[in-house]
């Protein structure tokens, strides 16, 4: 419990409840509770909004494999794993491709002149265009989602890696030259650590964009998977099914970011003490980053 002194010299104590509510943890909890309340109110007054309990019940049945509405038990995991495989393959290829292009962009003025305008074109193309195009090219199947993910994720990784390469300190580079440090050691000791931060930002962007892309592409261009499943419920006008799946998408991204990406990033930045405090899950994105993801 904290004590403080007011202007007129009286000491007062802040109650534990007030302290808990005004902490960052309390602020976060407040936002969840407020969201749930608004959702419930909307559900009461608007016909086509399914309520939170109804939706959670749906999610539970879908995930636990209970039979409902003509659905086979275990179907959820078949769709989920199909999507996860497409997402992972696309993300991996997109990440490697983006890293290679990013290093080229960052290290040579010629490559920058050659590629930067094209990169802008790719950045500006929304995933939905790729989803349509790849479905037209490849038909229904696994190809459209995978290619959509690659084409959507790679440019964001490339931009970030290029920035990282350009951020390598010229002073440290000159130091390495003066000491005659071998090139491969310079890459491991100087280039990669300098790029790591940018690489993580690029990866986190890429994960969110890829997840969007894979769902979109499945909506149009697949015969199974999570996106296709959401569309099934949408087409059947089963609102809680559709909203339930939207929540499953969001939950997946939260878990991936909080359980995998954030801890990895913290580990990579042990040397920068400040990084450990300001970074928790999606909270690690600043407003500017979130705004550009939304576009």
């Amino acid at each position: 419990m904290s004590t403080a002194t007011t202007a007129d010299g009286k000491r007062y104590r802040r109650s534990p409840l007030r302290q808990a509510l005004t902490s960052t943890w309390g602020a976060r909890l407040t936002s969840y509770v407020a969201f749930a309340i608004v959702w419930q109110l909307l559900a009461w007054y608007v016909d086509r909004v399914p309520g939170p309990w109804e939706t959670l019940d749906f999610i539970w049945r879908e995930v636990s494999g209970g039979s409902h509405g003509g659905v086979r038990p275990g179907e959820f995991w078949e769709h989920f794993s199909a999507t996860l495989v497409r997402f992972s393959i696309g993300l991996m290829i997109g990440f490697v491709l983006g890293t290679v292009v990013g290093i080229a962009l960052g290290s040579s003025a010629f490559m920058r002149a050659l590629l930067s305008d094209m990169l802008l074109v790719f950045l500006a193309l929304p995933a939905i265009i790729w989803a349509f195009l790849t479905t037209m090219w490849f038909g229904l199947g696994w190809e459209a989602p995978v290619y959509t993910v690659i084409l959507s994720a790679a440019p964001f990784v490339a931009v970030n890696v290029a920035q990282g390469v350009r951020s390598v300190s010229p002073d440290l580079h000159r130091m390495s030259q003066a000491y005659g440090v071998p090139r491969n050691r310079q890459i491991r000791g100087l280039l990669l650590p300098a790029v790591t931060g940018y690489l993580f930002t690029g990866l986190r962007f890429a994960v969110i964009i890829s997840w969007n892309a894979v769902l979109l592409a499945e909506w149009f261009g697949a015969v199974d998977g999570v996106g296709w499943r959401a569309r099934l419920w949408y087409d059947a006008a089963r609102y809680r099914g559709f909203v339930g799946w939207a929540i499953i998408f969001i939950a997946f991204i939260f878990l991936l970011d909080g359980l995998v990406l954030s801890p990895l990033q913290r580990r990579a930045f042990r040397w920068r003490e400040s990084a450990a405090s300001g970074d928790e899950g999606l909270g690690g994105f600043d407003a500017e980053e979130l705004a550009s993801i939304g576009s």
Binding site: A178, G189, P193, E273
Partner: protein
Amino acid sequence: MATLHIENLKKTFPAHSKGSKPTRAIADISFEMSGQVFVSLVGPSGCGKSTLLNIVSGVDTPTSGTVEVTQDGKRAKLGYVFQDPRLLPWRTVMQNMLYVSDLSEEEGRANAKHYLEMVGLESAEDMFPGQLSGGMQQRVGIARAFSVSPDLLLMDEPFSHLDAITARSLRDELQLMWNATKKTVLFVTHDVMEAVQLSNRIITLAHGGTVFDDVAVDLPFPRKASDPEFAAHQAEILARFETMESERADRAG
């Protein structure tokens, strides 16, 4: 014995953009140094001191002239202490030492420990540079330079970014380290007192990059600024320096 031979060295930086003029950093510099000497290069800012070190270290190339750094006829090995510590922030002190080492992992560690002990930082080997004070970081920079067993050690105003007290204690330590190792050192500074305290020989550069003065300092080590002979040497060099400055002012006027 390492020998640095510089003859008619000229350096002009090309114009940055259309309309701007090329910048002449070094008009014409020649000197030679060899063996167990500590040579200071003193001069006002803009006299080409740092450019000269960059050329000697091979980071920059001369426009014309000869720069040779040899050790028994072969290219000499260099150590470099910069104005700022220039440590890899994501590597520990020990890893920073190993980054420049060409010994095996095990030998490199033992060697690094030896030089970290010499600068009093043996307990900091697992710390990151961000956890050390500026003075401690520069100590690591000095230990790193000595640890590669350089034939020629280049130092570019290594104490100019430190507070006066830290700078003084590091100067005293450097004096001891030099007396213990007798490396060939080329030390750049704008501080005449620092040059008199540390060097056997002081080369003064003039504006525009020419050699103005080249004097020997034959005082016994360890040197103290409070010693009258020290003060006399310093006064003499400063007097010549002021003559140079006033001549320059006359020409300009």
